[in-house]
């Protein structure tokens, strides 16, 4: 269905709308962080260490005396930066490989699909370790590792969609009209594969946010003193029994972000169900 209709229908689903609202809020928080955060997230106040939530520090402070609310707010930036990076790499790469192998078949398909299989067999976290070992720790390297291990599923999905479509009347008429090559792939085939790829992406992002938090927790993600929710949880682990909020609050933020993408993905998927046509 045309994109405007797709969007309109998606917005009617309560799940998708909820997810979209949360994500929008997240984006706004990330963009306007400097104006929203009451304190500098990296400013350490030794006298104010490990404070419980109070009037001055709404969410309390961590073991270095840094304001948790500010760190939480600034933590939205790496989270969204990650989402953007993964999207920009995964979608185009996965779709391109899938469409080329599905449409042309033959040796091209065999080569591309074997390559896809190889990448698919790589475990994410191990690859992240390898990247970090090669290039040094950092948010971008961790995100890169995640992105480069996510695209194979998209390639497979779009390839099988195209194999189905190859016998459809849409493509038969395009051929009768003499439409071939890039024009066919970009103008006719891509729009048919895009919706399910987007649904998949929304649902994947939910998991990727969790994976990135895991990397951060293990110290493979953002380097200190960057506010990143995963590493904030790690910070809070040592004092978890007495000052539980230091770990719980960023944990909740991760939960809510992941949930938001999940809801959005669910809503998008409902729109694509046959009953909606």
């Amino acid at each position: 269905m045309p994109s405007y209709l797709f969007l309109r229908r998606t917005l009617r689903s309560p799940a998708a709308l909820c997810g979209l609202v949360i994500i929008t809020l997240l984006v706004l928080v990330a963009v306007f962080a400097p104006w929203l955060a009451p304190f500098d997230p990296n400013w350490q106040d030794a006298a104010a260490r490990l404070q419980a939530p109070n009037a001055h520090h709404w969410l309390g402070t961590d073991s270095y005396g840094r304001d948790l609310l500010s760190r939480l707010i600034y933590g939205a930036r790496p989270a969204l930066g990650l989402v953007l990076l993964v999207t920009v790499i995964t979608l185009p790469l996965g779709l391109l490989i899938g469409i080329l192998s599905g449409y042309y078949g033959g040796w091209l398909e065999r080569v591309l699909m074997r390559f896809t299989d190889v990448v698919m067999s790589m475990p994410r976290l191990i690859l992240a370790f390898a990247f970090v070992a090669m290039l040094g720790p950092g948010l971008v390297n961790g995100a890169l590792a995640l992105a480069l291990t996510t695209w194979p599923a998209y390639a497979r999905q779009s390839r099988s969609e195209i194999q189905r479509l190859r016998h459809s009347d849409y493509l038969a008429t395009a051929e009768m009209m003499g439409i071939r090559g890039p024009r066919l792939l970009a103008g006719h085939i891509l729009p048919l594969c895009l919706p399910s790829a987007i649904v998949r992406l929304a649902l994947d992002l939910a998991g990727i946010i969790l994976a990135a938090a895991g990397l951060g927790f293990l110290g493979l993600g953002a380097r200190p003193p960057m506010s990143e929710w995963g590493s904030m949880i790690a910070d809070g682990m040592q004092v978890i029994f007495d000052q539980w909020w230091i770990a719980a609050i960023p944990g909740t933020a991760i939960l809510i972000s992941s949930l938001a993408f999940n809801l959005l993905g669910d809503g998008l998927r409902d729109v694509l169900e046959p009953g909606h046509e």
Binding site: M1, P2, S3, L5, S168, D169, Y170, A172, T173, A174, E175, M176, M177, G178, I179, R183, G187, H188, P191, L192, E277
Partner: protein, 240 residues
Amino acid sequence: MAIVEVSNLGVDFSAKGQVKTAVRDASFTVNSGETFSLIGASGCGKSTILRVLAGLQREWHGSIKLLNGAIKPGTRFQGDLRRNVQMVFQDPYASLHPNHTIYRTLAEPLTIHGEANIAARVEEALLQVGLPTDAMKRYPHQLSGGQRQRVAIARALLLRPKILLLDEPTSALDMSVQAEILNLLNRLKLQFGMTYLLVSHDADVIAHMSDRAAYMTNGAIGHEFDRAALVRGEHRMDAA
């Protein structure tokens, strides 16, 4: 004068080591300006023959002459041949791309073939099939089945084909819409001097449209019927 000559056409599909013969040893001719029909139950191979003549099914054996030129298996139709042979498909819900406006669906073939005055040609095409010109801004899901089929016919005619292949063009439509589409097809055939090759399982449609017909079972062409035989309903006895 024969515009299509098919001799000993055979089409085999191989899947998982098994060979299925969809068309065996089919021979027939179609004369310029007539409507020739293939009638038979689903799965008898009539649509496959159509797809061979459309250039969509490129694996076949036998000999085929289209518009006074022989065509060879394995080759895509190009140039004039591609323009001269067009097809209208059965399912009006599946042959128009859901993401394209009607304008784009009609303008694209013209653009590719380097035609001029595209906007005017699109308008003309819509009027020819009895659609209002504002239909060009719409998407397929906003049109009814009959309207979509009209767009499909308009598109098939854009390149001024000499041969129009019709694969059950009205079986997905209501009776009264079918009447409109059949009238349209007959009108346009006279207007543009085309030759039709029609495939259907509906004996009444065949009797109304065809000058000659042939019955198919299991991939082989059986009886041929001339106009008199069609009037007598001979094609009907075997018809599914």
